[in-house]
Subunit: 254 residues, 2 copies
């Protein structure tokens, strides 16, 4: 008997930013797997079971969830944000790829969510209004020299850069180093947005020019967005600044 | 008297993928501005007025909406997907930046949505599971040589590449040219995903290897995702293939 495996995203934490589609999957499933703080965002019924695990155990969690689904259960793997962006959907696919053949017959349903960079961008204007990239700054799962190369290429391309996993206790220097590298390629005034807990009551959004960007402003729950040379800041009396990247670069066909 | 301007995203078109937060904004607003097919996704009441405009008139539409908000109305500007990704939030910011000072006092509220690449990725597995970029392939608003440079840098960086606005009647050759350029940098087997109307009844998702990728598979409503050299395909008996980009590149700290 083969069950069903939902992989959902809660969005950044504000319940009003979780899609009805994801909420419907939560009401159908009976077994939940995820990082504790993400599971805490769901209002589970007493007949629904949760198994919280540490944030760094994605592959074990995916395999455990797949084993449960293979026995016929309706299972829900829970990510914050979007499950497809530096989150559980890739871990589940990886486990299927390397796991027993029967896991390929499980009814896998991945449901998208609001990923952090979109929530942060919305709170500050439209910094992702033109071409951009998203880079995980964690060198746990890839070598640091690849990250350095990606930052350099992103700056050369003129992409706005969204950084996920910018800093943690075990990775204290990487964000400062990234700012240092980008300072040689980007204007000193380039706006850097530190977006923490966007859309939640404890939200903190800070803008600093790249020349003075202070990595200690970020923590594990922060998404950092670094503008491109085109990105602009609008000041407003009595309201927070707006940051946006214009849709237009001179020389197009229109 | 100063009104309020919501800028919302409907998501890709499936009503269950629009956030409750965006739905609440729709119920509050009385004046709606947007591209007709996006406005059609809302079930407006008889006391709510809609003004549809062509997809290429973003800046005019933004200014009209800001003028209405400046008179005290509660206005809603509607994008498909996420309003911050190649959509109306940047046009509204641009209009504020270049408009009369009073527009800076308008209560501007941008609400995020599920952008096309997230919806397409979810339907096929997790192709955006690692570092990626999003590029608009339209050379209406920027010169083609900038797009070529960005594609080259993205390939050098090893990013998965999501292409928005891949093709239209007025821009028939750009996507084919992009595939040609990428063929010199990426493996022939790199999976190319054509995701049309993801999550809607008329959804069409197609995977082709880059060597054989056919630009005519795409239309205006398609988001194209091109894998990185790390991206993998999982075949499943009786089920569609899964495509994912692993979280892991050998040589990290763990």
């Amino acid at each position: 008997m083969t069950g069903r495996l939902f992989v959902i995203g809660t969005g950044p934490g504000n319940p009003d930013q979780m899609t009805p589609e994801a909420a419907a999957a939560v009401s159908k499933a009976t077994e939940f797997y995820g990082y504790g703080p993400y599971l805490d965002r769901l209002n589970l019924r007493s007949d629904q079971r949760r198994q919280a695990s540490d944030n760094r155990e994605e592959l074990d969690r995916a395999s455990t969830a797949l084993r449960a689904a293979a026995t016929g259960a309706t299972v829900c793997v829970v990510s914050g944000g979007d499950p497809g962006v530096f989150a559980m959907a890739a871990a589940v696919c990886e486990a299927i790829d390397n796991g027993p053949k029967e896991w390929r017959t499980i009814d896998l349903v991945v449901l998208p969510g609001i990923t952090a960079m979109l929530a942060v961008a919305a709170r500050i204007g439209a910094p992702l209004g033109h071409d951009f990239c998203a880079i995980s700054l964690s060198d746990n799962l890839k070598p640091w020299n690849i990250i350095e190369n990606r930052l350099a290429m992103a700056a050369k391309a003129g992409f706005v850069i969204a950084l996920y996993n910018p800093i943690s206790k075990a990775r204290p220097w990487q964000l400062g180093k990234a700012f240092d590298l980008l300072r040689s390629d980007l204007p000193a005034t380039t706006p850097v947005i530190f977006g923490r807990a966007a859309g939640r009551p404890d939200e903190q959004i800070t803008i600093q020019p790249l020349a003075e960007a202070d990595a200690t402003t970020a923590d594990m729950a922060t998404c950092v967005i670094i503008g491109s040379p085109e990105t602009k800041v609008i000041t407003r009396d009595g309201k927070p600044d707006l940051v946006y990247t214009p849709r237009f670069i001179a020389g197009g066909n229109r």
